[in-house]
């Protein structure tokens, strides 16, 4: 996993509440054997209708090309656990998403892939979205994971909370499976102790 430490970049706002992952990546992009190249599918049916660019969709605004930070509304990316939602956001170029809250699956999937989901208060998120929109993207946003801050070029700095463990994993770009396998002996010991108590759990192939 690529580590996330900090980023200073252009942000684009998408402030609707409760955007579900079905909207983020639709069925035609979902059927894939690869995690790669899904950026073109991100919000595809909102970006294009009948093959034409939807000019008033934020991603298509004239100043909004190549953004690195997505500012989103509450309960962003709720619904299906499809990890494609995270892969498509990252492949589009985003490194961090700032929102008042996230769908549970999206947030966890983001951590596993090195995308930083930042939760701020609703009024803080709105302030960032307004400032970025007003400046037509000229005001960049600086997100620092070690400091746990989001800072607007011109303005306030907001602190965000993140649990210890995903923070460490993101900073170091850790391979969680490798980390867990360090506990292989503990897993074996758990099973050995558990098997006599709950023999029905440990099926054998011929069961």
């Amino acid at each position: 996993m690529t580590p996330f430490i900090e980023i200073r970049g252009k942000a684009v706002p998408l402030m609707m509440a409760d955007i579900d992952t079905d909207q983020m990546i639709t069925r035609e992009f979902l059927i894939t054997k690869s995690r790669k190249g899904l950026g073109r599918g991100l919000f595809h049916h909102w970006r294009f209708v009948d093959g034409k660019r939807v000019e008033d969709f934020p991603f298509n605004w004239d100043w909004a090309a190549d953004p690195q930070i997505l500012i989103a509304g509450p309960n962003f990316a709720c619904g299906s656990s499809r990890e494609h939602a995270v892969w498509s956001v990252m492949d589009y170029g985003f490194k961090a998403v700032i929102a008042p809250s996230f769908g549970v699956h999206f947030r966890r999937n983001a951590y596993k892939n090195g995308l930083l989901p930042v939760m701020l208060a609703a009024n803080e998120v709105e302030h960032l979205a307004e400032a970025v929109t007003r400046s037509r993207g000229k005001q960049l946003i600086h997100v620092s994971l070690p400091q746990q801050t989001v800072t607007l070029d011109d303005g306030p700095s907001y602190r965000f909370e993140i649990e210890e463990e995903p923070k460490a994993a993101l900073l170091e770009g850790l391979d969680e499976i490798g980390l867990t396998l360090r506990h292989a002996a503990a897993i074996g010991a758990f099973q050995e102790k558990d098997a006599p108590r709950r023999p029905w759990v440990y099926l054998r192939n011929e069961y």
């Binding site: 509440a17 059927i31 054997k33 619904g79 656990s81 649990e163 054998r204 192939n205 069961y207």
Partner: protein
């Protein structure tokens, strides 16, 4: 330390406590499906790793498979290739697959319950957000993404943080025609699609306990639509009765020991929560969604709500939903012709659902202009419905009687609602475009869906007798 059912279940699965409040949880049962299963296996192999416990892992083909007779195609571009890759990976790893030709194939959350793969007291993880369904059996179950599935394949564990607990009590006598689907829609209407975030939902109360085990699964299934990954139910004698004799359930002495363990596990738990929600079911009517979010719910006879007066964010969301659904404030849903009825999905495609639906179909015909289909939740359910004569009732009325799978709920197998058409569905998501381009989905119970197929519009079959 709290001693609620959730705590007991959680604590017994902790392999190690890691820094930051994260626990390494043992995964007793791991299930994958065809939409993303191949990706999890290929990532695992790319990392040079193998499946640690194939005998605790199952694959089910449900999302991408044709529901047409003899599984005739075409389905969706790339679908058959993904199924094939999934078949190869499971075979190579020695993982039992409920594949396209398996007579017990079905929707993963239905198969895991009816095969006894999910049982009380087990941790059951599945690469699908509706994994919470089998919490109804007293299992600790939640949905995961591809990266987490890969982690489980390699380690038989998952890293997780214990959620808070929201205790939801449904009390009172269930009115006629009101069941699991109506209770869960009413709950989502009450707490919203993010109301359950950070919580596991524990269902209880006399109104809840009066439901069949299958109907409890319907309630657990849609916990994710209330923002919660986990739904749990303290198992009772009905749960044990449901599990007894199932293919992977313990037998003989093992069964007796398991039963004693499960009874002790459920006995004397603290019946408290970090949050408490009380719902009086005695005043509920059948619930139907009017909008594009599962929280946009009304009683079947109620007018479509008016966004005026709602706060800005809610208002714009409601206005967008009204426009998408082709509705205005004050409209009655019964005034709009429907073009599709879909009875199926992991929410409502069990035998009890089909029995209750068939009552409203028997001796009637599907209304002109309506395409109606029943997609049973599994091969077992399909065969049972055929033996009981339910299939014939649906077929005689003009329903399509399909092969099991996710079908028009996930709508990634070629089964779709036509552009801009209106569908009454027993499934779980009414998102924009979920069932097809500009498709207008109304979520409802199997009874309402069946009666609506006959009427050609959304109707309450008990409207004459309802107070």
């Amino acid at each position: 330390m709290a001693d609620r059912y959730l705590d007991r279940l959680w604590d017994m699965h902790v392999v190690a406590s890691l820094p930051g409040g994260v626990d390494l949880i043992h995964v007793d049962r791991h299930l994958l499906h065809d939409l993303t299963g191949a990706l999890a296996f290929s990532s695992l192999k790319a990392g040079g790793r193998s499946v640690r416990h194939p005998e605790l892992t199952w694959g089910v083909v449900d999302h991408l498979i044709s529901s047409k007779k003899n599984r005739a195609g075409p389905t969706i571009e790339g679908g058959p290739g993904l199924i094939e890759a999934f078949e190869q990976h499971t075979a190579e790893s020695g993982v039992r697959l409920f594949g396209p030709t398996d007579r017990d194939q079905g929707i993963v959350h239905i198969v895991s319950a009816e095969q006894g793969i999910a049982l009380p007291g087990l941790s059951v993880l599945c690469i699908d957000s509706h994994a919470c369904t089998v919490g109804a059996l007293g299992a600790l179950a939640w949905g995961i993404g591809v990266s987490e599935a890969e982690h489980i394949l390699a380690t038989q564990t998952i890293r997780a943080t214990r959620p808070k607990l929201m205790r939801v009590e449904f009390n009172g006598k269930l009115p006629q025609g009101v069941g699991g689907k109506d209770l869960i829609l009413a709950l989502i209407a009450r707490i919203g699609t993010s109301g359950g975030r950070g919580y596991a939902l524990e269902y209880d109360g006399d109104g809840f306990r009066a439901l069949s085990v299958e109907d409890r699964m319907t309630l657990c299934n849609m916990a994710i639509e209330a923002g919660s990954e986990i739904a749990i139910v303290r198992p009772d004698e009905e749960t044990f009765e449901y599990c007894k004799g199932r293919a992977y359930a313990p037998k003989g002495e093992d069964w007796d020991k398991a039963l004693a363990t499960w009874r002790a596990l459920a006995d004397g738990c603290e019946k408290t929560g970090d949050e408490l929600v009380m719902i009086d079911v005695s005043r509920l009517t059948p619930q139907v969604t009017w909008g594009t979010s599962p929280q946009q719910v009304i009683g079947i006879a109620d007018p479509v709500p008016d966004p005026a007066g709602a706060d800005d964010r809610v208002r714009s969301q409601m206005e967008r939903a009204l426009s998408y659904m082709g509705l205005k404030p004050g409209d009655r849903l019964s005034d709009f012709p429907i073009q599709h009825v879909f009875i199926g999905s992991c929410t409502n495609a069990r035998i009890g659902d089909l029995r209750r639906a068939a009552v409203h179909v028997k001796g009637h015909k599907v209304a002109e202009g309506v395409r109606a289909m029943v997609v049973p939740g599994s091969g077992r359910i399909r065969r049972q419905a055929e033996e009981e004569g339910l299939a014939q009732i649906f077929i005689d009325a003009g329903f399509e009687w399909r092969e099991p799978g996710c079908s028009m709920c996930a709508a990634v197998n070629g089964d779709m609602v036509g552009v801009g058409e209106r569908c009454v569905a027993t499934s779980n998501r009414n998102f924009e475009g979920r069932q097809g381009e500009r498709a207008r989905t109304h979520l409802a119970s199997p009874e309402i869906a069946a009666a609506s197929a006959v009427a050609g519009r959304i109707v309450d079959p008990w409207r004459e007798t309802r107070q």
